[in-house]
Subunit: 266 residues, 2 copies
């Protein structure tokens, strides 16, 4: 049985002292360098594989400082502070000694508390009732994701009044959900400027933050079912915009909320 391309893409070879060697994967190529979501997933995976890791991911911030070239890279993961129930990490991804990506992550242990979800999943048709959308072939990484839009499909040549999209999504072929694949799924919402302008203008994530609301058990419970997500932008101006998204499980649990600042040309 061959492994899923996702597992190959985030695979890391431990080099000791919190350093890991990885390799870009052609299946997750973007127009320039790899899909940001796979870089985020790989950084998270470095912490997960670190011998000193405490608990599970609570948050991840990834700063896309420069392009990642096809080929090998090295990740260094440093546990800068370990408390009783939380652990703070600083990470760098380098190629030939130059920093391409920086990140910080918070891991920790969860305790049972009062719980409530205030941002509920929108009431939309199920994934089986919605058509699968294909991205243009030029966006190689998108072939690894099944996306079925309830609303907010980009229409080439026609700008839209809203940047909001709601879609069912999962890995293609399906793969059981884990923290790394959820991190990557938090970046599948193509730049909201595409929806507003109706054009694939040059755009790229500058910084991405993910808050994880689920524990490992809740992720396992998702299996390889579709997740539901809504994404939208807030303000577009002077070459940058921000977009936020929320990701629910097929069972309606809010699994992650994610935010990013995106560079664009117009």
């Amino acid at each position: 049985m061959s492994s899923h391309a996702f597992d190959d893409a985030v695979a890391l070879e431990p080099l000791g002292d919190g350093r890991f060697r990885g390799h870009t994967h052609p299946a997750y190529a973007n127009m320039v360098g790899p899909f940001g979501g796979i870089t985020a997933a790989t950084l998270l995976r470095a912490v997960e594989q670190h011998p000193d890791v405490l608990g599970a991911p609570l948050s991840l911030t990834v700063n896309f400082a420069g392009p990642v070239a096809d080929g090998e890279f090295e990740i260094e993961a440093v546990p800068v502070r370990t408390n009783r129930s939380t652990q703070h990490w600083s990470l760098t991804l380098t190629q030939g000694g130059a920093i391409a990506t920086t990140a910080t992550a918070v891991f920790g242990e969860r305790r049972d508390t009062w719980s409530e979800t205030e941002t509920l999943a929108p009431d939309v048709a199920g994934p089986e009732q919605l058509e699968q959308q294909r991205m243009p072939d030029i966006i190689v990484w998108a072939r690894n994701y099944e996306m079925r839009f309830a609303d907010g499909i980009m229409t080439p040549g026609a700008g839209q009044a809203s940047s909001s999209s709601t879609l069912w999504m999962r890995d293609a072929p399906p793969r059981p959900l884990d923290f790394a694949s959820l991190a990557a799924l938090c970046d599948v919402f193509y730049p909201r400027i595409f929806l507003r302008s109706g054009q694939m203008t040059p755009a790229g994530t500058v910084t991405l933050t993910i808050y994880f609301h689920a524990d490992a058990q809740q992720l396992v419970a998702q299996g390889d079912a579709h997740l539901l997500a809504t994404a939208r932008g807030h303000r577009f101006n002077d070459g940058y915009f921000d977009q936020s998204a929320t990701v629910w499980g097929h069972d309606g649990h809010l699994l992650a909320s994610t935010h990013q600042l995106v560079y664009f040309k117009s």
Copy 2:
């Protein structure tokens, strides 16, 4: 003429090599250590004062790794990568050699592009029509902020169904807006769990991210007028919740969007 307490609180003494010495300020004390917003503002100020800084703030992520004790601290600001129009920073705040706070920031230059604000300011009564709220005296830092709520005031002893608050806010006494004071204002929204539970349960920000949508000129145009903000939480569970807020100028411009993950006990 004496300076504003805010300016004293974020004042830094350059030590060379990107290092700065700062000092906690009693006026910005929180229940444990300083108000997180003043720490965020001070970290941003370190980059602003660095001789190699490029442009203005685009984003800031601050990770509250451990408590900051009253007294001196040192900030190190490292420009890890400088591109043509963006610059990526890594920052640490240490006391006695121990890391209390880490941060990453992106600074850059803005260019004129297609612009639109999709998340508009809510239509609420003006600040002059709303009563000024006083926080309990135990929250010392809150005395430096004027807050006039349009909705979502915490009612001690009575939990509420929504964690949303909309308020006018500014420094008290009024002070012309700049990036550092805007960063601090992005953290004045007390933990949303207070609203939901009706109790000031133990809670603290774990990680805070701010996206700046305005340039220096737009901030100067605000003068010391009230800003309008809406904050709300998404999911509360297992000891953590996230909250997001948007901050508009008195002229309706979206100045910042901000997100945080908060630890709580219940």
